[in-house]
Amino acid sequence: MTLLMGTGEVLSHKKYGEHYHALTIVAPEIGESVRPGQFVNIQCGEGTAHILRRPFSVYRVHKRGGWASTIEIVFDIRGPGTKHLSSLRAHASVDLVGPLGRGFAMPSKRAHCLLVGGGIGSAPLFFLADELRNEGHRVDVILGARTAGLLLNQIDARRLASVCRICTEDGSAGETGRVTDLLEETMERCKTEIVYTCGPHPMLAAVSRVAMDRDLPVQTAVEELMACGYGVCMTCVMPLRQKRHGGKEAEAEYVYARSCTEGPVFDGSQVIWDGTTPSSTEAVSVDQSELSPAGMPTRHDFPPEPADEHAPPGN
């Protein structure tokens, strides 16, 4: 993988619905090499008030060859970084690094793929759907959000999917309920063989669990807080089950894997989602904007600090 760092030019800024902003950025070398599930890390503004780059999934790619390929990102305004990005218009330049991370694993043979997205978390699934279709796979989609305005581009979702099911918690669009309510029925109906999902953690946990119950491979894209995005700071880790010698899995055996380099796409069956994985019928939010402004759910229910090491407060 070759990482690129430089400036791209904004080709256009548009809105999807009243909520989501989209930037199309001319970034040919990223556009030519990026895979679904990978992300770019963007510097949002000048000065040192907010120093860190912000990571964004690649939502769409338009390969135009030569020096014209573009990538598109979509986002909702959460804080200063996304606010700055929403102010950019054509010809503005953005400083970005990418393509970063490990994207979705593609099916090894022709397969029925179910893509499950919640809110803005659905972003990388559109690029994935394009690629899966190009490779001749069947794509079915479940798209959910709290309310209609937070559904990401349902028109394209319907166009890309053989079966597309839309749901909102308040019933303002599609069926009333959460994506997990529709999961088993859709899997049955579409003869799903592989599940891909991106969205808030509780949703990823629930989808993983349903898929695992059916012995289906499940690819989950996580969005952890990242400081560097390229693997040096160790801030973005996810707890992964570790196989013991002899292949037997033990709950107690886990490692922290960097979601920026070993992820952001993980095998959902390897991730320790919470102390207690919610069952598929429990309430599961599919709306990422719920995380804001209250912020990231602080998951203090992750595995406790190991007793045998006394790490310093920082570093």
Binding site: T2, M5, R299, F302
Partner: protein
């Protein structure tokens, strides 16, 4: 459109001599990367020629691997960030078997950062480095670690514990310069520095992160799973400048590796004028992995502009009077 291939950085055209000596440690330029902000170099090599760095202070290593703290491990704060990683690392054996040969092959100036929970652990890590990584250029001792034998008080907060660790490490690897990395979270930095120097430290690294905490007011929970973390980035630069100034005034001949909020040549120069002979870029590597190279170039420009012939002439050159 100016996306460049990260693997081909633009050629440097530096004629200015940036070499600097920190006691017996000779560096081709005074700009290093700080421990924990560049891993062991593999990732950064995508963006820069590691051999062109003044040196690479690798992520602190412990006797066996440390898993680290649960997430969330970081949050952004005004002009900086808080982290609570808990020194997640694969242990010294992994370093000597995997990272060190890789770095050697690329001609990188390596400074190994040693950490532990007991004096014995520090010494055993150093023993392994002496046996299997003889060509490292120097050691940095990360004493910002809880001391199991003293109710988890940090070594860096006690002159006695600081001295014991430094003495042990120095005795294990007497032929390599040892830099004690001090914590700013103490009442008297000079007292700790003195203890480290008397125990045989050849130099000091100043500063490690500043204790901090951040609370999500909506959930009323700390933003870090570890509750308290280490503040880094431009926010702490004045703290670093003051600490370096204090120690340089007290021990003018002791070489200091300055660190804390450096992202530009001006930032690095500030630390040097306060008394640092070399400067490590930390948090700002996350934003721009090429910043150490750009900082070094900026220092060369400054030296040309100000008619300075040697980096050494900048060290501690702050004008306090007149």
């Amino acid at each position: 459109m100016t996306i460049r291939r990260a693997t081909k950085p633009p050629p440097e055209e530096n004629s200015t001599d940036l070499s600097v000596k920190l006691g017996t440690l000779e560096l081709k330029n005074p700009i290093l990367v700080a421990s924990g902000t560049y891993g062991a170099g593999q990732e950064g090599a995508e963006f820069v020629d590691l051999a062109s760095l003044g040196g690479l202070i690798v992520k602190s290593m412990t006797l066996s691997s440390w898993r680290g703290k649960p997430p969330p491990r970081m949050c952004e704060t005004p002009s900086g960030m808080l982290n609570a990683i808990g020194i997640q690392n694969k242990g010294v054996d992994h370093f000597v078997q995997e990272d060190y040969p890789w770095l050697r092959k690329r001609g990188v100036t390596v400074i190994a950062s040693v950490a532990g929970n007991t004096v014995d652990e520090f010494v055993r890590v150093t023993d392994k480095l002496r046996t299997a990584a003889q060509q490292i250029s120097a050691l940095e001792v990360n004493i910002s670690c809880p001391n199991l034998e003293d109710r988890d008080n940090m070594f860096a907060h006690s002159p006695e514990a600081t001295a014991e660790v430094v003495e042990g490490v120095k005795a294990s690897m007497p032929r390599r310069p040892v830099f004690a990395k001090l914590s700013p979270n103490v009442t008297s930095l000079t007292e700790i520095a003195e203890a480290a120097l008397e125990a045989g430290a050849d130099g000091l690294s100043l500063i490690n992160t500043v204790f901090g905490m951040s609370i999500d007011v909506e959930t009323r929970r700390p933003k870090l799973a570890g509750t308290v973390g280490g503040l880094s980035g431009p926010a702490i630069r004045p703290v670093a400048v003051r600490a370096i100034h204090e120690i340089h005034q007290a021990f003018p001949h002791v070489p200091i590796i300055g660190q804390g909020g450096v992202g530009s040549a001006a930032d690095a120069l500030e630390l040097m004028l306060a008394g640092a002979s070399a400067v490590a870029v930390g948090t700002m590597n996350f934003v721009n992995p090429r910043s150490p190279i750009q900082v070094a170039k900026g220092i060369a420009d400054y030296m040309r502009r100000h008619g300075v012939d040697s980096v050494a002439d900048l060290v501690g050159a702050v004008k306090l009077e007149g």
